[in-house]
């Protein structure tokens, strides 16, 4: 709906302008499945064996470049303990993407992940992009959740799915990139969730905090 009025062609120097999109992403999942570790790996390339437990939530940002678009993720890493659940909606409200994390060595955490998916489907934006991450894939010897089981569940529910390891970095960048690719970035695309993007589509203020511009 928004016209492409502020497109690259209008830039004073005439250079093609890379589109910059900003998306809010939230990580959810049972305690100690590795949510903070995934974020730390993605944002800083680090891994701590003893990632301190997240109290409340943590906030980080990371930017990834796709072909013609720069995607800036605003990442909300939430606490896993049930008591903190009441704060979670504050973080997933308005989120365009979510990564629901479970630990492949713990069947319960997979059940819990399904509940998070349900909650997101019910309460979050209808067009939210949800990815399921089976973390700790480096501990495959202790695997309790089969890859195929999770893949089937993800397919049924239209989720992106990858097994990841924050420790070895396996699939960590990939899952964020897959989300970035799936998020609607063009003006007017993507239905409801693009409200923000559309609102900013004709914004001329080159503010880094704005969405697609």
């Amino acid at each position: 709906m928004a016209t492409n009025r502020s497109g690259a062609s209008q830039r004073p120097n005439g250079a093609p302008q890379t589109k910059v999109c900003q998306f809010k992403l939230v990580l959810l999942g049972e305690s100690a499945v590795g949510k903070s570790s995934l974020v730390l790996r993605f944002v800083k390339g680090q891994f701590h064996e003893y990632q301190e437990s997240t109290i409340g939530a943590a906030f980080l940002t990371q930017t990834v470049c796709l072909d013609d678009t720069t995607v800036k993720f605003e990442i909300w890493d939430t606490a896993g303990q049930e008591r903190y659940h009441s704060l979670a909606p504050m973080y997933y409200r308005g989120a365009q993407a979510a990564i629901v994390v479970y630990d492949i060595t713990n069947q319960d955490t997979f059940g819990r992940a399904k509940n998070w998916v349900k909650e997101l489907q019910r309460q979050a934006s209808p067009s939210i992009v949800i990815a399921l991450a089976g973390n700790k894939s480096d501990l495959a010897a202790k695997r309790m959740v089969e890859f195929d089981e999770a893949q089937a569940y993800a397919d049924e529910n239209g989720l992106l799915f990858m097994e990841t390891s924050a420790k070895t970095a396996m699939n960590v960048n990939d899952i964020f990139l897959a989300i970035a690719n799936k998020l609607p970035k063009s003006e007017g695309a993507g239905g409801g969730s693009a409200a923000g993007a559309r609102r900013l589509a004709d914004g001329e203020q080159p503010r880094s905090s704005a969405c697609c511009k």
């Binding site: 409340g56 980080l60 009441s86 934006s125 067009s127």
Partner: protein, 635 residues
């Protein structure tokens, strides 16, 4: 798995975890997973190229400092021997603010918390609780997982199943039985972890008990479901910021940075892992002496000392990182200097009567008697999660959301008041009664109506003193239902029904015949919000009641299908929004206004005014919107 199998599996798991801590490190040789227990080098780190870096602490304590500490130790030992004497009372405050000598911290903390008395009154209780925990605690798994990552860089906790790790596990498990309302909540491992550095296991247990339930500290309210004390203290913190550092507050608001995002650990664990440990201990010394006022004042002091730097950081993650990570590594001030400022802050806050948020309401205090055994229900035994939020959780949820919304409103008030563009048609309504929008049943129903639109053209004013300058260039409606800041917001929280409100609200909106416009209570999040997402209506418990109006600039495609425009001609302007400037003046007809009926009038004047489009407190666009003067009455 059926219920029985789940129950037996849970109890097996509990026993297994317990057993490992009981056996301890020496008896678990070869049974600790490598990932649980990597070998730390105490003083060195090896980089990826194989070079070993010396990470020894850069400076040794200066000899004169050591001498001073020795002198102080002597004084303290004397004081400890006559703890109840008037001379101790007289000197205690001054000496504690100077810092308890490290070697005596253990004794002094015990004295301050009166551990010996409590212990002598509860002989055998701790062991009993620990035994109960082994048989019943439903928090064992969580505690185990947190013990495995608490202070692992500290020599006491470095090795998996070390003596102190086992103590930490035991203290937390025993406490989860002792105080069944709290059980175990993440954060408590930090408290107990620090206590155990200076106390033995049972003393640490009682110290934890005192911190949670003695009225001087009253941390119970922080850790129970819904975190009511956190909400209350954050509100108080905001009040202090607004009064003493309004620019900093606005700076935070500008980036949607709620205090909950940077200060949670300040309140939950008294600055553990948020300031350098040496400073943290000094704050703990004072906290144990003077209680919860210290937390409030220290929070203020941190921001006061670092205000200049923070004001230069122009991104939410930079600010959060600075406050949470950088200040932990290096606070930038000597501990003594910080404590000096902390003391000044306490005086300053006291003069302003902001040193204490007030006595805790009954909801923050334990209801069940402590140490009484309560058998956990099946759900928590199995480890299942509740399907729905409890009342308390709903309140917490609403409170948190409303805090964010209020911050955003405050920012918009600021932006509006800074703006030069003024429309003569705009007026500010304040002190309007709650039901002044009768056409929609009540203001509340109006406000609860929520459909997010693409053009968020709202700015607010309120009944506050700076309000009259604003709302003029903007498209804002201003309301103040006069509930004030007396906590009456609680009343509204209970009305919060996230699952049902949207379905109630939409017909109301439909009836009102608002075309292409949607009305929403306050901005929903710090970020763009997809249309159609229900936004739980909520009322800031401490603030004015503000109604926010969103105007969709292309109602035909952007508004929900049930919202039909009043007339296409009127909406034409909106369709042309990209090409033609529009500005909306805005006023309400309640309060001191001379209008006769309860209406909100939105005026679209013909002046061409530069109009900021505000998203979550950020101006994202300035546009001209051109139109003839149009009036839309919202009945």
């Amino acid at each position: 798995m059926n219920e029985e199998a789940l129950l037996s599996r849970a109890s097996e798991e509990r026993e297994l975890i317990f057993e490992r801590y009981e056996r301890g490190r020496e008896n678990l040789v070869g049974q600790i997973d490598p990932w649980e227990d990597p070998e730390f080098e105490e003083y060195h780190k090896t980089d990826r190229y194989g070079f070993i870096h010396d990470e020894r602490l850069p400076q040794k304590t200066a000899p004169q400092k050591v001498n001073a500490e020795v002198e102080r130790e002597k004084k303290w030992i004397k004081m400890l021997s006559q703890w109840d004497s008037p001379s101790t009372k007289e000197k205690l405050h001054r000496r504690i603010y100077k810092g308890i000598p490290l070697s005596l911290r253990m004794n002094v903390w015990s004295k301050l918390l009166d551990i010996n008395r409590i212990k002598s009154e509860n002989i055998g209780k701790y062991q009993k609780m620990l035994k109960l925990a082994k048989a019943w605690s439903t928090d064992v798994r969580q505690i185990d997982s947190d013990v495995n990552r608490q202070f692992r860089e500290h020599q006491f906790y470095r090795e998996r199943y070390s003596e102190k790790q086992c103590s930490l596990f035991n203290v937390l498990c025993a406490y989860s039985m002792f105080n069944s309302e709290v059980g175990y909540c993440q954060g408590m491992s930090g408290l107990a972890g620090v206590l155990l550095m200076y106390m033995d296991e049972e003393d640490a247990f009682w110290a934890l008990a005192v911190l949670l339930t003695d009225k001087r500290y009253a941390m119970h309210g922080l850790y129970i479901e819904g975190f009511p004390k956190l909400t209350r203290f954050l509100e108080h913190h905001d009040k202090i910021l607004t009064k003493f550092m309004p620019k900093l507050k606005q700076h935070f608001d500008k980036f949607g940075l709620d205090a909950i995002l940077y200060s949670l650990k300040w309140f939950f664990v008294c600055f553990v892992e948020r300031v350098p440990f040496s400073l943290c201990l000094r704050v703990w010394d004072i906290y144990l002496l003077d209680g919860e006022r210290v937390i409030t004042a220290m929070a203020y002091t941190i921001l006061k000392l670092h205000k200049k730097t923070i004001m230069k950081l122009n991104d939410m993650d930079l600010i959060v990182n600075y406050i949470q990570v950088k200040l932990h590594k290096d606070f930038g001030y000597e501990d003594d200097v910080v404590i000096y400022h902390l003391e000044r802050s306490m005086e300053e806050l006291k003069r302003a009567k902001l040193d204490y948020p007030g006595n805790p309401p009954p909801s923050e205090l334990p209801k069940r008697s402590l140490g009484m055994f309560v058998e956990p229900d099946k759900r928590s035994k199995i480890g299942q999660r509740a399907e729905n939020f409890s009342e308390r959780e709903k309140q917490a949820r609403a409170a948190v959301i409303s805090r964010r919304e209020k911050a955003e409103l405050d920012l918009q008030v600021l932006r509006a008041s800074q703006s030069d563009t003024v429309s003569e048609h705009s007026e500010v309504a304040s002190g309007a009664p709650c039901d002044s929008v009768s056409g929609l049943g009540s203001r509340r129903s109006l406000a609860d109506t929520s459909v997010t639109s693409t053009a968020d053209l709202s700015v607010f004013s309120s009944g506050r003193s700076h309000a009259p300058d604003n709302s003029l260039d903007t498209h804002s409606i201003v309301s103040d239902d006069g509930t004030g800041s007396d906590g009456s917001g609680l009343r509204h929280w209970r009305r919060f029904e996230p699952d049902t409100y949207a379905s109630q609200a939409q017909p109301l909106l439909h009836r009102s015949g608002i075309c292409g416009m949607s009305i929403q209570r306050a901005p929903s999040t710090a970020h763009s919000t997809p249309r159609g997402t229900p936004h739980p209506p909520s009322v800031s418990p401490m603030s004015d009641d503000v109604v926010r109006i969103h105007v969709t600039y292309n109602p035909l495609s952007a508004s929900p299908s049930h919202l039909q425009p009043i007339s296409p001609s009127k909406m034409k302007n909106y369709n042309e929004v990209h090409h033609k400037p529009v500005s909306l003046g805005f006023y309400t007809t309640n309060g001191s206004n001379r209008q006769t009926d309860n209406r909100i009038r939105i005026q679209v004047p013909s002046e061409e005014l530069l109009t900021p489009v505000v998203d979550s407190g950020r101006i994202i666009n300035q546009r001209y919107i051109e139109s003839h003067t149009e009036l839309y009455d919202l009945k």
